[in-house]
């Protein structure tokens, strides 16, 4: 080969490689801006039917009001959202707004403090519901005395019961001031249960109040299942009260008082058993109980069974809260949308069932922004709908748990207690203690990571 040709080819190859390597990466996710002045805000949440109210109601309304701000709504699987947020931070491609930002991400300073925006626009912390005031970073909106997220709605996690089945079984009606424990729950479930080989005639006493889905996360025992410091599963999740509650739930399972005994899980059903009038009691948001009533059921709303006798926290709760990421390139526009979502949009978003398979877009609870309770549709609902009024009353029963980095991960192992007993032959005590040990390991790991932030 001639020297010149060789050198020419080598130089071309080298320059070509350098040019290719130095190309900036295309920005993924956000669509191209429509014009020079239009800004696109990306918002991440779980998507799907649960958040369809954004696409169908809130975003069109906002974009009409702010034509220069386009909203790109991205749904991310709930199990993956936290990891996706963290990797987006590492990659430098964060969304503008995200729901349920992991606590360690908040602690690492990756969400904007909203206090200045709130002060500028005349929004006070006191304008928000009691759950927000608890100051707990875990989806209640505050960390280190700064507002880190704004809630859209505030949701109760209570018990809905079928009044007709209760009356048939000779049981009293329950109201918002009534408290039941698991012994009473079992007694009611036995009274309501109507065994039958025929599914059409079968009525179950209750849905299974699985602790990890209901009581553990929602502080329905005293002490909290992770202790006062949120770090100690051992001794708190497997104390005498919890063993008693597990024993009762296992009894209900063995006596076939719940659909779980038949291997029927509510999410597998084409139509929910409670809505069909085939179950006496189940867990519920406000949206669920209103939906059940709209399907023709005669329903009532009350607190869930508590694990500890006399404990007042018989209702769980959470806010759907969004945060603005510090890496957002358009924080002002992101604030406008977040403010709209929190302080205006809920007026036009109907109530919708979270658990009972409704297809309608909507929120499962009332707005957390209290001034909306005195306006329009919301004020009418509170004044005229007894179930809505009951939910407002039950809101005061919520006792927010002590902060812990991630209660779901901590308690996750307790989903396996029944399987450990029924499939692996453990005693109930062994199974609960095994789950508690795993819970403790998981909690220790979570705290280790959380505590290492900023050191």
């Amino acid at each position: 080969m001639k020297k010149k040709t060789f050198w020419l080819i080598s130089m071309i190859l080298l320059v070509g490689l350098l040019l290719v390597g130095c190309q900036p990466a295309e920005e993924a996710g956000a669509p191209e801006e429509a014009g020079a002045e239009t800004v696109t805000i990306t918002i991440w949440d779980f998507g799907g039917a649960e958040f369809s109210y954004l696409d169908e109601i809130a975003i069109p309304e906002f974009e009409e009001k702010f034509p220069n701000i386009q909203i790109n709504h991205v749904g991310v699987l709930e199990d993956e959202l936290g990891l996706k947020i963290e990797t987006s931070i590492a990659a430098g491609e964060v969304p503008d707004i995200a729901i349920f930002v992991p606590t360690r991400v908040v602690a690492a300073g990756h969400v904007l403090a909203l206090d200045d925006y709130m002060a500028r626009d005349g929004i006070a912390r006191e304008d928000y519901c009691s759950l927000f005031q608890s100051g707990n970073i875990s989806n209640y909106g505050q960390f280190d005395d700064k507002v880190t997220s704004l809630p859209i709605d505030s949701n109760i996690w209570a018990m809905v019961y079928n009044k007709d089945l209760f009356a048939e079984a000779g049981l009293p009606e329950l109201g918002t001031d009534d408290y039941i424990n698991f012994e009473t729950w079992l007694e009611y479930a036995r009274a309501i249960d109507q065994p039958s080989e025929n599914l059409e005639d079968r009525v179950w006493g209750s849905n299974m109040f699985v602790p990890v889905f209901n009581s553990q996360n929602n502080y329905m025992s005293s002490p909290f299942a992770l202790g006062d410091d949120g770090r100690s599963c051992e001794g708190n999740a497997n104390n005498a009260d919890w063993m008693n509650a597990w024993d009762i739930m296992m009894t209900a399972y063995d006596e076939d008082l719940t659909p779980e005994s038949a291997g029927v899980w509510f999410e597998d059903l084409e139509e929910d058993m409670f809505v069909q009038g085939k179950m006496g009691m189940t867990y519920s948001t406000l949206g669920d109980v209103v939906y059940a009533r709209d399907q023709g059921l005669n329903v009532g709303l009350t607190g869930q069974p508590v694990v500890t006798e006399g404990w007042s926290g018989n209702v769980g709760g959470w806010n759907n809260s969004y945060s603005i990421m510090t890496g957002s390139e358009h924080p002002d526009e992101a604030w406008e949308f977040l403010k709209f979502l929190s302080t205006e949009a809920p007026l036009n978003i109907p109530l919708s069932s979270d658990m009972l398979l409704s297809d309608e877009p909507g929120l499962p609870g009332l707005p957390c922004y209290l001034p909306l309770h005195e306006q329009g549709r919301i004020a009418e609902l509170i004044a005229e709908d007894p179930l809505v009024a009951d939910s407002v009353s039950l809101m005061s029963h919520i006792v927010p748990p002590p902060f812990t980095p991630d209660t779901w991960t901590s308690f996750d192992e307790f989903w396996n207690v029944f399987s450990l007993v029924n499939d692996e032959g453990m005693t109930l005590e062994e199974a609960v203690n095994e789950a508690t040990a795993v819970c403790q390991d998981a909690t220790d790991e979570l705290w280790e990571v959380f505590d290492s932030i900023g050191q």
């Binding site: 060789f6 080598s10 490689l17 199990d79 990891l83 963290e86 990797t87 931070i89 590492a90 360690r104 991400v105 690492a108 990756h110 996750d412 192992e413 989903w415 396996n416 399987s419 499939d423 692996e424 795993v438 390991d441 790991e445 280790e448 990571v449 290492s452 932030i453 900023g454 050191q455």
Partner: protein, 317 residues
């Protein structure tokens, strides 16, 4: 100027040789750049980060010396647990799969019609994506509807295992999945078998050796380098189990990172990418490297005793 630079780089070479050497390295340059950028630099960063507290969402890394290693040995319960799971898996699978692979290769070494077809069919599973294989076995091993338990029930087993949903059977289920890939090992054995000179078998036959004696005295010794290779790669492969653990762990009732399937590599992944503790995960990875290196070194030391190289006599390398 070019000639001067060549003289500077290759002072001891003259003229044409210098030019050729320079051109050779120029052609090697892309690989060298890749080696430095994608191997050396990451290795260096991994070595550095193992001594730092480096959290994904809380950079920059901060030097903490041996703290990661101390925490690993004294505080991290899953460190020892995941090593135990990995070693148990190795014990369950290494020798049995080597024996099965060898048996399969002896079958494939027969001179029968259609043998190429069988060799191809048995090797194809080894090249199928690990994710696809795991998903396939996820369905096969379903406690209620999986084909394996249906088959076991048809044989009269009233209570077949819950497989990945059982603390006792989750690891054997993953080991069972490994059978899918024994075709790969069998092909390697097959190559070794076909390198054994036929005249040795002829000589053995003349001496009155039966099949077993031929296998034990001729086949095994001359196949020992191949067996040694499969053993080393099998050990390294056991330390690198990730895909089935990650996918199956995520769908078992025990949840992601299920402790019964918490292989060491999965533990590294959980620490590094789920918990964002990159420094600690780097330290774990280096421990894996050293453990693997020690194990392979110990086995290499046994080469003289157990591996026979025909050209220079037993145990020569």
């Amino acid at each position: 100027m070019i000639e001067r630079s060549r003289k500077w780089i290759f002072p001891s070479l003259e003229g044409q040789k210098r030019r050729e050497a320079f051109q050779g390295y120029l052609f090697l340059l892309p690989w060298i750049i890749g080696f430095i950028v994608f191997l050396l630099i990451p290795l260096g960063m991994a070595a550095y980060s193992a001594f730092t507290r480096w959290v994904l969402i809380d950079p920059p890394p901060r030097w903490i010396g041996l703290e990661n290693f101390r925490a690993m040995f004294t505080k991290d319960k899953f460190f020892w647990w995941s090593l135990g799971i990995t070693l148990k898996f190795m014990v369950m699978t290494l020798i049995p799969f080597m024996i099965l692979g060898l048996a399969l290769s002896l079958l494939l070494n027969q001179k029968l019609r259609g043998m190429n077809f069988f060799r191809t069919m048995l090797y194809v599973p080894a090249v199928v994506s690990g994710v696809a294989v795991t998903l396939l076995f996820m369905n096969l091993l379903h406690p209620e509807f999986g084909a394996i338990n249906i088959f076991l029930r048809s044989l009269g087993v009233a209570d077949p295992p819950n497989w990945i949903n059982s603390p006792d059977w989750a690891l054997p289920a993953v080991a069972f999945m490994g059978l899918w890939g024994i075709g790969g090992g069998a092909i390697i054995y097959l190559a070794g078998l076909q390198n054994i000179p036929p005249h040795l078998y002829e000589a053995a036959e003349i001496d009155g050796a039966n099949s077993w004696q031929k296998f034990w005295k001729v086949t095994l010794p001359l196949l020992s380098p191949t067996i040694f290779f499969v053993l080393i790669t099998g050990i390294i492969g056991s330390f690198q189990v990730f895909t089935p653990a990650y996918i199956l762990g995520g769908v078992t009732r025990f949840g992601p990172g299920s402790k019964y399937l918490r292989f060491y590599l999965l533990h590294i992944y959980i620490k590094g990418f789920q918990q964002g503790r990159l420094g600690y995960a780097s330290a774990l990875a280096w421990i894996l490297f050293f453990i693997s290196a020690i194990v392979v070194f110990i086995i290499y030391k046994q080469t003289e005793r157990f591996v026979y190289y025909e050209e220079e006599g037993k145990g020569s390398s």
